[in-house]
Symmetry: C2
Amino acid sequence: MALTCKLGETKDTIRPGAIHHLKATPETVHWGYFSPDIKPALTIRSGDLVFAEAITHHAGDAPDLMFDAGVERIFTEIDPTTRAPGVHIMTGPIFVEGAEPGDMLEVRYLSMVPRNNYGSNLAANWGHLYQEFGEKERVTIYELDPVTQTAHALYAYDFPGKYLVPGTITHCPVCDRSPALEGITIPARPHLGTAGVAPAVDEPVSTIPPGLHGGNIDNWRIGAGATMYYKCQVKGGLFSIGDPHVSQGDGEISGTAIESSLNCLFQIVLRKDFEFPSPLLETPKNWIVHGFGDDLDMAMKNAAKDMLHLLTEHQGLSADDAYSLMSVAADFGVTQVVDGTLGVHVRVDRSIFPHKGTVRDPQ
Amino acid sequence: MALTCKLGETKDTIRPGAIHHLKATPETVHWGYFSPDIKPALTIRSGDLVFAEAITHHAGDAPDLMFDAGVERIFTEIDPTTRAPGVHIMTGPIFVEGAEPGDMLEVRYLSMVPRNNYGSNLAANWGHLYQEFGEKERVTIYELDPVTQTAHALYAYDFPGKYLVPGTITHCPVCDRSPALEGITIPARPHLGTAGVAPAVDEPVSTIPPGLHGGNIDNWRIGAGATMYYKCQVKGGLFSIGDPHVSQGDGEISGTAIESSLNCLFQIVLRKDFEFPSPLLETPKNWIVHGFGDDLDMAMKNAAKDMLHLLTEHQGLSADDAYSLMSVAADFGVTQVVDGTLGVHVRVDRSIFPHKGTVRDPQ
């Protein structure tokens, strides 16, 4: 049990008992849904390291660049009619021994490395300006420079018809490709758009709406160096990752990021000494909470309430003090705006607080 | 005329013809309203420097700390019943010779220095969590450390009754004061919450709703080193400043920031070669546009449309390219959420673009 520290060992030096390699195959991914009934792809103990492959469901936008044998198997062997009700390819689930409903999974993301150096951005039919663009969908393919950690566009094409089937494979002839964003360099922000534990539900649920289980939060700060805390809803937690991105802006307004497969190294620590009601993110700089709702105003209110909870329950402030601090120092941002996935996050700078510990272990 | 550059002089080295000192007095401020009919407090030429005093309308929350003789004159000599329909004390207006409707005022904020080292945050009746706090209003008084550029709370008190009259003077007995936010240090972000040109209206309008004239934008990035572009709506522009803050978070959710008087140095340059439909902000790091609306979703849409305008009209991108870039690299944040002042801003990193010029002068 990870919380039983040995002499001289602190909670922050929990030693992994094993490192697991979780490849993404048709047998180890679930496409479009979370469910507590999926057979675990991997079983681990608290503290173990996992090296797992996250595959973008947009690899078919440029199969010549974004496919390899492993990706192709997933796209060709998984029946498109079963990719429902959501869209994301999720690797997992990972069963954590001893995890019970109400426990927290502390997921320490240690590295996120592109599987290949290409990604796709779709101006989608679910995008924020779809009507303003005459209901046109368009793909822009980006190349990542791993040395400078920047991306630049290679080419773009109008998507023929409507992008409705997750994992559509588009064989774009060269003549359809037009130059895009010449001279523009995008900073890379590799992160997971979707990750979380299995919700306690009776039938599979979509990967699209984020929620208390985590899921499609689409916060680009969920990258290497960040720690996420997810509240287990079922035995074993059943944690899965997917929807990898190399860059995204707050808002993700075209409906997608630069969608690109990532190889992810993370450590999972089971916590029974700490609880938080919604997905909580800790970066070297910030503590961040997430609110969701049917519109941005509701998402904003929910984010505000959960930041109040963090500051009072975990940082020991009075509610009055917390409210003042939030107004003068916490920054609210729009995470995403697609119908059904509206989200607002709120960041507070860790340097504000007198202690230098983590959110779960402030001393 | 500032745009007529001399030999060897670029647009970025426009020489000021004069430096003006605009003190805030009952004669040089207008409290609660913008109007094209206010007699100019100062007339300048394009390129001139102005050193102007911005006075917080919350100085009465701690008059022993935040009043001096100049502030007290404003609070005692201006009839409270005339402080309408808004709340902010605005210094100005400044008439810029040659400015016509449709011209842009480029305001280069060069320094913002606290007039004293104290500020007030009010958890107000218009705050985002007013109902959740049982309709209580509470004042927290902060002290600024000018060396470390941080603020810390000195004390707090529940406001007696309802905070309805702008410039209420509260003589808080020592016994009412309770400690607040002990051990917490807030980073300083001195900025102007409200600044803008006079709208073309027939009668005075409130300073509260932000709009195309600027006004109460409440973006903490409008500080020293930033440049704002405001579109003139009347002859002379009639620019005013007010609502000074030493710190505010994106969202300003209690309804106010750390409200504190600032002495501001800025240069105003009249531009007839450049146009933008909404208040545009340029910082050393970002270009930022602002959208407003009756709810956050509408504000978000308006901010997205104006960023599209910036990227296509001023950076020369196609609309398709601009939309992709916005989704993968532009960050949408919530500026404020009070009814009537809902605002979303969107930031794009200047380093993304190949040229290193300013938004108005990209070469």
